[in-house]
Symmetry: C2
């Protein structure tokens, strides 16, 4: 990434961070405010607001108008994280205790709901005409519904040994990609883009989002623990059905090495050696490389869709955002 692009990204993040902290400083209940602020203040990549702002700027020089919209998506993202962590009983997030650990489950459920409510209030402050606001509202609502559906699929999958490739991709699309899609689509709407641009930007972000999640799964198995922020191999011990695992279970059907994976997968008390052996097996049979290539393919397709935009610094940055989402920190 060019130096000035890095600086520009930093500037956007600074502004988003400041806005987020201002938005959650709401009401008179100190504990609730702290619980709402818990994740937003712990940082984050802010990819959704960055995307919304860059698209609005690239399409119609209206990046500034997309800031509240981008923040509303970031608040929604944070609300889903708070509830996800309660649901998955994850004790840690962004290197800090999860909200339900730092406070309690009731407070976490309520703080999530409150973040969601604030997100809509922030969305309503978007400086677009009323009919465009209506459209934003519908796409955001539909998106959150799909995220909920994806979360439900994810919860249900935990009890199922066999998850198909199609089911995995459907879940990833709903849990992760749709919120990116919404960011880019909304950015294009705010920027006054053509219907073609709105559709292409939505698809760009969907592909990027799926690639991002699959890359995240690869990092969860191969990454550096400090950069990834969670213990490498925890996905294996938790039995998470990532594309890597789904692919491996297909390949190993009837293979006598299947027990090496089975010993560690979903076994919370698997030894370090068992987890290492399972990861080595995933490497040996090519499932990690398969997922890596799969993500890179989505990234390449995402980039192609940017051709609907005229050349601009923001277009270049949207191109670089793909490389960041799919390709970071390996």
């Amino acid at each position: 990434m060019l130096m000035d692009h890095q600086q520009r990204t930093k500037d956007i993040i600074t502004e988003v961070d400041r806005s987020l902290l201002k938005y959650v400083e709401r009401g008179r209940h100190e504990k609730l405010i702290k619980a709402m602020r818990h994740y937003p203040e712990a940082g984050g990549k802010r990819m959704r607001p960055i995307m919304a702002i860059l698209v609005a700027e690239a399409v119609g020089k209206r990046g500034k108008e997309a800031l509240p919209f981008g923040c509303s998506l970031e608040l929604i993202h944070n609300f889903t994280l708070v509830h996800d962590d309660v649901i998955d009983k994850d004790p840690v997030r962004r290197g800090r205790p999860a909200v339900h650990m730092a406070y309690d489950e009731p407070t976490a459920i309520i703080a999530g709901d409150a973040l969601f409510a604030i997100a809509y209030d922030v969305l309503a402050s978007t400086e677009v005409d009323g009919e465009r606001l209506r459209r934003l509202m519908r796409t955001v609502s539909n998106t959150v519904f799909l995220v909920a559906e994806g979360q439900q699929i994810d919860v249900d999958n935990e009890d199922r040994p066999a998850v198909s490739r199609e089911e995995y991709l459907d879940m990833v699309e709903k849990k992760t990609a749709v919120l990116f899609s919404c960011a880019a689509e909304g950015g294009a709407i705010i920027g006054g883009g053509t219907e073609g641009q709105i559709a292409d930007m939505k698809e760009y972000a969907r592909l990027l989002g799926i690639g991002f999640q699959i890359w995240d799964d690869v990092l969860g198995i191969k990454g550096n623990i400090e950069k990834v922020g969670k213990p490498v191999g925890s996905d294996i011990r938790n039995g998470k059905r990532t594309l890597i695992v789904v692919d491996a279970l297909e390949r190993l059907k009837g293979d006598d090495r299947e027990h090496v994976l089975a010993e560690a997968l979903g076994n919370s008390s698997a030894t370090e050696d068992q987890v290492k052996a399972a990861i080595q097996l995933l490497e040996d049979i090519g499932s990690i490389e398969h997922a890596r290539q799969f993500a890179l393919d989505y990234a390449a397709r995402a980039k192609q869709l940017l051709s609907c935009l005229e050349g601009s610094e923001e277009k270049d940055m949207l191109m670089e955002l793909v490389d960041y989402a799919v390709g970071r920190e390996l």
Copy 2:
């Protein structure tokens, strides 16, 4: 209530019920759909949509346009019930197992979130101009935030022996009254009312809502178990700080009968006799009558605010709605 008003109310309820079931029939996940439908299909008084529709009709003959708005509030009301029951670990609602009992806690949390998302999509379908839609969006978002704050206060109060009268009223206003306020305010906005009418309708509903909740607390202690739908005395065993209890604890300070109340209050294994004795004491010292009068006073003030409306069948029905909210089933 006049016969034709009763019929009119029934017709509105039928239409609201039909709309609600249509709205929650969303997505492809059977279990999630069932969980979302669980409370809406179990019935309910539908007071919030009824209020929104009657106000919009009384103010500007736009009752029909207020149907989606009213339904969105009913969906929000149901979403808060689903999460409240998870938080309070209440096993029963409307005579059925609570969502988290019929399914599980993760599903209940997700179903609540999904109902909230659908509520905003329904709200976005309101046939008003974009700027009015923006205003509705802001009042709804602010309302849900206050409801969350009220729920947090309620959760925190459980660990506190002494809750003041002011704290109780603040909590009731947020947990219950603001959603009524929003219904009437939104109905007046949709109906094209003057700013004065919008403000008066909002206040009418706030007073009605507070009266409604206090009346509900009275019913919880004095009511008929079948009509109330929960075991009479459960509020006592759960240690709920109702106005009745707050008032009694003030009156009994230093009184040697205090132990009669203390034996049953918040004691989940209190005997039937202990609960009866506590209720008799609340009766004897006048705390039940105090709450009853308090609610009736709010009801009377609510009715006065209806003077901003010209005479109409709907105005009469809004008057009767007060009597229903404060005065029902004793």
